[in-house]
Structures are given as structure tokens and as C-alpha cells.
């Protein structure tokens, strides 16, 4: 039986990160992109906790992960509000249409 080590956690978080990144880069729907962001954040959280457990053996990682969760919740709330506004303005949440910054 293979013991679960640091590498496993890292691989999991890497996969999670890649999935998140994928959905951020490819999805048109703003909400899906936000969900991708959540995945990326959680991939980071896994990393924090894994390193805390295997490398430092203290609770610093967990603490930061909790921070991230809280801020992520806040960020999600703000982001959803923005999306809502974009929707009201453009009647769409398709990100391709929100290109007023284009040069």
C-alpha cells in the first residue's frame, strides 16, 4: 500500500490548478470562469496545507488556507456583483463581449 506523501498532494493540487486554469482561459461564461478561479484558489490551499504538514509541521499553512477561503468568499461576492453589473449593462455575461479595454 502506497503511503500518501507530499507528492500526491502536490499532484492533486497541480491537477486541480490545471483544471481551474483551463476553465478560466477557455470558458465564455463569467460564472464558469469564477468557478475556475475557485478551483485555482483551492489548489493553492491544498499546497499550503500539504507543505505545512510535511515540511514545517506547524499550523501556519492551515491558517493561511483559512485566510484564503475567507478572502475567496469575499472575492467571489465582489466578483459576482461585478458580473451582475456587467449583465445589467450588456445583457450578457459572455466575456468576449466585455472588451471595452481593447486597444
Amino acid at each position: 500500500m502506497l503511503a500518501v506523501g507530499l507528492n500526491h498532494y502536490l499532484i492533486l493540487s497541480a491537477i486541480l490548478f490545471c483544471l481551474g486554469l483551463f476553465s478560466v482561459v477557455t470558458k465564455k461564461n463569467a460564472v464558469t470562469v469564477l468557478m475556475g478561479v475557485e478551483l485555482i484558489l483551492n489548489a493553492a490551499n491544498i499546497n499550503f496545507i500539504a507543505f505545512a504538514k510535511y515540511v514545517d509541521n506547524d499550523l501556519d499553512g492551515q491558517m493561511i488556507a483559512l485566510f484564503v477561503i475567507v478572502t475567496a468568499a469575499a472575492a467571489a461576492a465582489v466578483a459576482l456583483a461585478i458580473v451582475l453589473n456587467i449583465y445589467q449593462r450588456l445583457k450578457s455575461i459572455n466575456l468576449d463581449e466585455a472588451d471595452s479595454l481593447a486597444g
Binding site: 478560466v24 482561459v25 486597444g103
Partner: protein, 660 residues
């Protein structure tokens, strides 16, 4: 006396000022004011005249006083009054005739729409003329000289709605100005050489040799130019006939008795400055004028024009008198002429008033209709023709004697006397032609004849007064007596050669005798010829006129002087003015505008260089940057996902690079 002299001058001025501003609102349109003023002047002049008469002695000066007018450093310019025998006579002449003309005008100008203005002008003229007579220096005489010209301008052009009247007034003023420029030049020479203006000062300094020789001759001739203009001498006589466009009383006052005599007066006043050569010049001009004008008068049909040419001719006589050294003769003729010529003009005015025409072809037989006018006119004519015992005879005789005496002493100039004698005959002829055509025979225009009537009292009274004055031998004796004064002796060392000269030769007596008889003879033959031609019609004037067509045409067209001046002086002046104006606009202003054009062309060229070259470089840099930016901006999609993707690639690239 000084108060008298000042009042004589200021009363008409005062009347003018009042009349011009409020004349129209005064009762009778104010005609009584100028008339009264000038009559007062006449009454004030009488004591001066009798003072001169009773204090008969050499160089008697009745009034002489001057006041400082201006002062340049220590150079004082004064204005003053100088009354001697000559002035006292002139004062009487001017004020008396002016008074009579004022009275006459009350009738003549009745009902004119500018009646009050007419009297104002007349008064202004009288003021100027009196000033001219009274003033004691060259500068002053020039001032009044010009003012007299102004009065004449206003009165000739009084009926300015007529083009011919406004033309005539303009012509009179400008022609006079030509002479005045010469006179002013003469005054400039006098002042720059002697440094004074006053007559007495100038004469004294000239007698002391302050100005002599050719320069003095030139000065004299230049001063005389003024007289050529004002006294209508050849070649500036052309304005006087045209001046007849003015109302007839004006012609009587200004263009017969006073203003035109001003030139003669001035020559008399400044007589001592003329050298023998200058006097000869005056005599020759006078002779030409007298003869030329007399011949022109023969053919004129306009009654006033005949008189105008006769005036020119008589003025020529006066100049001859003065020029040949007959100081007394010339000025004596001035005086007698003033009265009988004023009489003739006023008489013609009376005729014109009656028939409403100036053309002698419209007249004839008026003797019965207007007896007073006829008889007074006849007296004037006899005086002008030089029939004894009328005034003109004495003065004309004196001039002829003076000319003859001059001819005897300088045989090369005998022709002056001959021409004068001839002119005297012509004068008698044309004057009686006028009498016969106007007053005797049959009426040529019955309608006008029926309408004719004797003029009102205000018009006949002056005629009678003047007629009486044109007869009396005693009265004229006084005048000659006054003028005969050898006042020149005071100064005469250099200038009055001619007078002294002739006395030595003792030709005077002989000359007088010859002149006396010959003048009576020519006057008689002139009258006789006129009677033969125009009264008894033994000789046909028309036939002779067509036989001598070229001569007739020459005379009818007044020797083509007007045409000549029109073709030369006037056209040249206008041409010059147009050329100068065109030169100004095209060349000088063209040059200025050319500079402006060149500058602005250059500026636009430089502007182009600046735009294309210098600014082009600056813009070029900007454009290059712009092009690059344009290319680059395509990657700026505004889509966050693209940016993330790029960041991802960048990270990947960095990652890959780190491996090496």
C-alpha cells in the same frame, strides 16, 4: 479822423456779421442794415476827404497809425491805417458807389430767395475793399486782396444754381490766385530783403538803396502780377467777362468800380518801387489789354459783356497812364471811370430788369420807355467815350498826353500812344453802337418792349446821382488837384525816373495840346461811325462782318483765350493731376503693396518649407511611433482571458528557458 477811419472799416464788417447770422429774421430781411452801415461809412469818409482837400500840401497824410499784430523776437509786424490823398479819394469812391449799389440793389434784388444773404455778401465785399484801401502794409494789402476775391467769388456765384455762374466764380477766383502768387512772391522778396512790410518803411528802405537794380524790377513786376489778375489785364483778363454772371449791381460795384480798380490802386500806392523797366512792362501790358479788349467789345451782343470788355480796356488805359509815368492821369482815370462805369452798369441793370434779357438783339427803342435810364446812360457813354466836358474826357486826355509824352521821349514806344488813341476811337464806336442798338430805333422784340417800364425809384436815384457826378468839371478838378500831388518827391530818388525824366524835356505842354485835340477827334469820329452804321444804317454791319469773317470770328471768340487756356493750362493741370494720382496708386502704392506681396509670397514659401520640412520631421517621428503602436494595439484585445493565456505562455516560456 482815426476813429472815422476805423469806423469806416468796421461798420460794414459788423453789418456783415449780423446780416449773415440773423439777417433773415430782421424786418425787410435786414437790407437796411448793410445799406445803412455803408452810408454811414460814406458820411464818415467825407470829413477825411475834406481834410485832405483843405490841407493840400506835399505828402500830406491824414491818418497814420498802426498797432502791433504779431511779434517775432524783435521783429514787429504791425497792422495799421494809412490815409493820404489817394486813400481819401478811394474811400469816397468805394463808399459812395457801394452805398448807391446797396440802394439800387434794394430794387433790383427784390424778391430773390437769398435776398438777405446778398446784402451780407455785398457788405463783406465792401469791408474787404475798404480794408484794402486803408491798410498800411504789403502783408495787409495781400490779405484784403484775397478777401476781396472771396467777396467777388460769393457774388459772382450768387445764383449758383446756374452752372455758368458757378463756373464763372470759380474761374474768377483761380485766375486771380495765379496773379496773387506772383504778388506774394514779390512780397516775399521785399520782406526777405528789407525785413519790413509797411509801405512807408519799404519805400524809405528802397529809396536808401536796400533793394535796387534788376531785383527791384523783378519785384515790381511780380507785385504787378497781382494787379494783372485783379485788374483783369492781359493775359489774365479772361475771368472778368464771365464774372458778368453775377447780379448786375455786383458787376457795377465789383467788376467796374472798385475791385478791378484795386490793381490800379495798388500800383499807384506802391508806385515808387517800380523801376523804369517795370513801368515800361506795366505800360506795355496796359496797352495790349486796352487795345485787345476794345476790339473784342465791338462785336459783343450781350450788353453786359460789352461793358465788361470796355472795363478791361479802360483798366488797360489806367495801367498805361501809370506805366508811362502819368501817376496822376492813371489814378484820375480810375476815379472818373469808377463813377461813369458804375453808372453804365447800373443803367444796363435797369434795362435788363425791364426787358429780362441781356441780349442787345432783344432791345431797341427803349428811350421812350425808360427816359431816366436813357439820359443817365447817355451821360455815362459820353464820359466813357471821352467827350468834353464829361469826366472821362479829362482823365483819358491826361492818359493820352502821358503816353504821348512818353513816346516823344522814347520814340521806340510811340506805338503805345497810337494804340491808345485808336482804342479811344474804338471805345466811342462800340459805346454808341450799344446806345443805338438798345435805346434808339425800332424795338426788335415787341413782346419784351411792351413789357418794359422805367425802374423803381431806388434804382433810378443812384443813376441820377452817378450821372451828376460824371458831369461836373469842378468836382473833377478837385480830384485831379489832390492826385496831382508830387507825393513821390519824398522817396523819389531811384524809382520814379519816368516822371522826373519827362519833366526835363519840356514836352509836357506840347503833348497835352496834341492829346487834347486828337482825343476829341477820334472820339468824334468813333461816334460818327457808330451813328452811320447803327443809326442811319448807311453801312451794313452784317456785310462788313461777313466780309471780314476771320477778323470777326477772332473778335467774337475773344482771341480764343479761353479755348487756349482750356487746351493748355487747364488740360495740362488736370492731366498732370490724373497722372500723379495714377502714379501714386500704381507706382508708389504699387511698390508698397508689391513689397507686401513679395513678403507674403516669401512668407508662404517659407511656410511651406516649415510645414513640409521642419514640421514634417517632427510629424514623421510621431507617425513612425503611431504605426508601430497601431500594429501593437491588435494584441490588446480587452479580453482578460487572452491576457491570462499570454501570461501563461510567458510563464511557460520562462520555465522552458530556465531549463537551459
Amino acid at each position: 479822423m482815426i476813429t472815422n477811419a476805423i469806423l469806416i472799416l468796421l461798420l460794414p464788417l459788423f453789418a456783415f456779421v449780423v446780416q449773415i447770422f440773423i439777417g433773415k429774421r430782421l424786418p425787410r430781411q435786414g437790407d437796411w442794415l448793410p445799406t445803412g452801415a455803408i452810408i454811414c461809412s460814406f458820411l464818415l469818409a467825407l470829413p477825411i476827404f475834406f481834410d485832405a482837400l483843405s490841407n493840400y500840401e506835399a505828402g500830406h497824410v491824414v491818418v497814420q497809425q498802426s498797432w502791433e499784430w504779431l511779434r517775432f523776437g524783435n521783429l514787429e509786424i504791425t497792422f495799421g491805417i494809412y490815409v493820404d490823398n489817394l486813400t481819401s479819394i478811394m474811400l469816397i469812391v468805394v463808399t459812395l458807389i457801394s452805398s448807391l449799389v446797396h440802394i439800387y440793389s434794394i430794387g433790383y434784388m427784390q424778391g430773390d430767395e437769398r435776398y438777405s444773404r446778398y446784402f451780407a455778401y455785398l457788405c463783406l465785399f465792401s469791408f474787404a475793399m475798404l480794408g484794402l484801401v486803408l491798410v498800411d502794409n504789403f502783408f495787409g494789402i495781400y490779405c484784403f486782396w484775397e478777401l476781396v476775391g472771396l467777396g467777388s467769388y460769393l457774388l459772382i456765384g450768387f445764383w449758383f444754381e446756374k452752372k455758368s455762374a458757378s463756373d464763372a466764380s470759380k474761374k474768377a477766383f483761380i485766375t486771380n490766385r495765379v496773379g496773387d502768387v506772383g504778388m506774394f512772391a514779390g512780397i516775399m522778396i521785399i520782406f526777405s530783403t528789407l525785413g519790413v512790410f509797411g509801405f512807408t518803411d519799404v519805400f524809405t528802405k528802397i529809396a536808401d538803396g536796400g533793394l535796387s537794380g534788376t531785383m527791384l524790377t523783378v519785384t515790381g513786376i511780380l507785385i504787378f502780377f497781382g494787379a494783372i489778375g485783379k485788374s483783369a489785364q492781359f493775359p489774365l483778363h479772361v475771368w472778368l467777362p464771365d464774372a458778368m454772371e453775377g447780379p448786375t449791381p455786383v458787376s457795377a460795384l465789383i467788376h467796374a468800380a472798385t475791385m478791378v480798380a484795386a490793381g490800379v490802386y495798388m500800383v499807384g500806392r506802391t508806385f515808387v518801387i517800380y523801376t523804369e523797366d517795370a513801368l515800361l512792362f506795366i505800360a506795355i501790358i496796359g496797352t495790349i489789354t486796352a487795345f485787345m479788349a476794345a476790339t473784342i467789345a465791338i462785336v459783343q451782343k450781350d450788353i453786359k459783356r460789352v461793358l465788361a470788355y470796355s472795363t478791361i480796356s479802360q483798366l488797360g488805359y489806367m495801367m498805361v497812364g501809370l506805366g508811362t509815368g502819368g501817376y496822376t492821369a492813371g489814378l484820375f482815370h480810375l476815379t472818373t471811370h469808377a463813377f461813369f462805369k458804375a453808372l453804365l452798369f447800373l443803367g444796363s441793370g435797369s434795362v435788363i430788369h425791364a426787358v429780362h434779357s441781356q441780349d442787345m438783339d432783344d432791345m431797341g427803342g427803349l428811350r421812350k420807355k425808360m427816359p431816366i435810364t436813357f439820359w443817365t446812360f447817355l451821360i455815362g457813354t459820353l464820359a466813357l467815350s471821352g467827350v468834353p466836358p464829361f469826366s472821362g474826357f479829362w482823365s483819358k486826355d491826361a492818359i493820352l498826353a502821358s503816353a504821348l509824352e512818353f513816346g516823344m521821349n522814347h520814340s521806340a514806344y510811340m506805338w503805345i500812344f497810337v494804340a491808345m488813341l485808336l482804342s479811344a476811337g474804338i471805345t466811342a464806336f462800340y459805346m454808341f453802337r450799344l446806345i443805338f442798338m438798345t435805346f434808339t430805333g425800332q424795338a426788335k422784340d415787341q413782346k419784351k418792349f411792351d413789357h418794359a417800364h422805367e425802374s423803381p425809384f431806388t434804382m433810378t436815384l443812384p443813376l441820377v446821382v452817378l450821372a451828376v457826378l460824371s458831369v461836373g468839371t469842378i468836382w473833377w478838378g478837385w480830384i485831379e488837384h489832390l492826385l496831382a500831388k508830387p507825393e513821390l518827391a519824398t522817396y523819389a530818388t531811384v524809382a520814379v525816373g519816368a516822371v522826373e525824366h519827362s519833366a526835363e524835356h519840356g514836352n509836357a505842354h506840347l503833348a497835352h495840346t496834341i492829346a487834347l485835340f486828337s482825343s476829341i477827334a477820334v472820339a468824334g469820329s468813333g461816334i460818327l461811325l457808330a451813328a452811320v452804321v447803327y443809326h442811319w444804317k448807311k453801312i451794313s454791319a452784317e456785310a462788313w462782318g461777313s466780309k471780314l469773317k476771320p477778323v470777326y470770328n477772332l473778335l467774337w471768340n475773344k482771341y480764343y483765350f479761353d479755348e487756349m487756356y482750356e487746351a493748355t493750362v487747364i488740360r495740362a493741370t488736370l492731366w498732370k493731376s490724373r497722372i500723379f494720382a495714377a502714379f501714386d496708386v500704381k507706382i508708389i502704392d504699387g511698390f508698397v503693396n508689391g513689397i507686401a506681396t513679395v513678403t507674403s509670397k516669401f512668407a508662404s514659401l517659407q511656410g511651406a518649407i516649415d510645414r513640409v520640412g521642419v514640421d514634417g520631421m517632427v510629424n514623421g517621428v510621431a507617425r513612425v511611433v503611431g504605426v508601430f503602436s497601431n500594429r501593437l494595439r491588435t494584441i490588446q484585445t480587452g479580453k482578460i482571458q487572452t491576457y491570462i493565456l499570454m501570461a501563461l505562455f510567458a510563464v511557460l516560456i520562462l520555465f522552458v528557458l530556465q531549463q537551459f
